[in-house]
């Protein structure tokens, strides 16, 4: 572990947050030593509110007293501050592609998960469209980052454990080996990677949480 040369790194997080997981994976890959603070999102700490007064959310990374919020912004900060074990592509165009997919990859998935009927069908169409394009980004590569896990893998990493849970709860399989062979293989490779496998929240606990959230939303609508 890179012992921070007089550096203090703290991550404020929540066990189920995919945004927090992104930061955890990046810190692991960069071998950065850090302190983790689990927040109770129903009773946020004064420290969290002080460090992220604008959004009051996790993750927040505090580095030598300076707070950075928003997971993707934190990823780029980590990349630029610790030079070893690079996660971003070097080429500006490759960076642009990675930044685009980091946010676009998930479009429609939450909608698919929390809606029913026609709304759900529309969301699903959007998800499949995105996944088809995302699949192409994996051609000739093990990971979006190439041979190693990179920024885009980290950004969309939640797909590897989140989508199977969504599929189970909605009883609808989206990423099949048949339809998305590369994405399917990537999910396996990513979630079993040394930087990821011990960080994933317990599947049953996470699944239960998502199930409850979905029920509450659907009930409220009906």
């Amino acid at each position: 572990m890179e012992e921070a040369k007089g550096e203090e790194v703290t991550l404020f997080g929540f066990w189920s947050s995919p945004f927090v997981h992104r930061v955890t994976w990046a810190l692991n890959i960069k071998k950065i030593k850090y302190k983790y603070v689990e927040e109770d999102l129903c009773n946020k700490s004064d420290l969290l509110l002080e460090h992220n007064p604008v959004y009051k959310k996790v993750p927040v990374l505090v580095y030598n007293g300076k707070a950075i919020a928003e997971s993707l912004i934190i990823l780029e900060f980590i990349e630029e501050t610790w030079k070893e074990n690079s996660i971003m592509p070097q080429d500006p165009y490759e960076k642009a592609i990675a930044r685009f997919w980091a946010t676009a990859a998930g479009d429609g998935l939450w909608q698919f998960f929390i809606t029913e009927g026609k709304e759900r069908e529309e969301a699903l169409a959007s998800v499949i469209n995105n996944f088809e394009l995302l699949e192409k980004e994996l051609i000739g590569k093990n990971f979006f980052g190439g041979d190693r896990i990179g920024y885009l893998d980290i950004s969309v990493g939640w797909i590897s454990y989140g989508v199977p849970i969504f599929e189970e709860i909605t009883e609808f399989k989206i990423i099949t080996e048949e339809k998305f062979p590369l994405l399917h293989a990537w999910m396996e490779a990513f979630s079993s990677s040394e930087f990821v496998k011990d960080t994933l929240p317990p599947r049953e606990k996470l699944s239960e949480r998502y199930r409850k959230v979905r029920e509450a939303i659907i009930q409220k609508k009906n």
Binding site: I73, Y93, F100, L133
Partner: protein, 226 residues
């Protein structure tokens, strides 16, 4: 790359504006291809098949979409003017506030313009809060970027030029000198910068444009930038 870049955009769009100003700041060789959003060109559909939106930057055979991603690309691919700061923490802050503008400032202001009744009151309260927060970021500086314009200034271009126009058409008075003296001063300074001026349409034209689309926007809440 000495190749001429092509920017697919519209003069009426604040998102297209961000990309255009970035290219002008870099004194890059580029061609502005005006898109008629009611009849999207084959080129637009080819280079942005997913969202079919402008701006799209075509550089070589590569296309880059999403205005802030385009600006970051321009900053990295072209030499010259530094749009983002070099310090990692300052860069993170610039990205944070640009995002805040997109996620909070613009939506609240936009909805304040095109709703009424209780709903509008709610949005106006939100808009006031976000404008106050944004103004706070200028804290004694001439621009968000410091002495010269940077990433956040470009992101806030809509605030500087479009907000005044939209509120005039909508008949509200949110962004004014009395309530936001620092932000209004910044807006004037921003719009006076040469590369920014070159990219802005005549104000009267833009007012007329939004006035003509007012009913449609009120009904759909969707922007019509061309």
């Amino acid at each position: 790359m000495a190749e001429t870049a092509k920017l697919l955009g519209t003069k009426g769009s604040p998102y297209s504006h961000r990309a255009e100003v970035a290219l002008r700041l870099k004194e890059a060789n580029f061609e502005f291809l005006h898109e008629d959003l009611a009849h999207k060109s084959d080129m637009l559909l080819r280079y942005n098949p997913i969202h079919k939106k402008i701006p799209v930057l075509v550089h070589g055979e590569k296309s880059i979409v999403e205005s802030l991603i385009v600006v970051e690309y321009v900053d990295e691919a072209f030499d010259g003017y530094a749009i983002l700061p070099s310090d990692p923490y300052e860069r993170a802050m610039a990205r944070f506030w640009a995002r805040y503008i997109d996620e909070k400032v613009i939506p609240a202001f936009w909805m304040s313009c095109w709703t009424d009744g209780e709903m509008q009151k709610g949005f106006i309260a939100q808009a006031k809060e976000t404008l106050t927060t944004l103004e706070g970021q200028l804290k004694g500086k001439k621009f968000f970027g410091g002495d010269s314009i940077g990433f956040v200034d470009l992101a806030a271009g809509m605030v500087a030029f479009w907000f005044g126009i939209l509120q005039e058409v909508a008949g509200i008075n949110l962004l004014n000198e009395e309530d936001y003296p620092v932000l209004c001063r910044w807006a004037d300074d921003y719009c006076s910068i040469e590369p920014v001026k070159e990219s802005l349409l005549d104000r009267k034209l833009l007012v007329a444009h939004f006035a003509s689309k007012k009913e449609k926007i009120f009904a759909t809440k969707a922007p019509v930038y061309d």
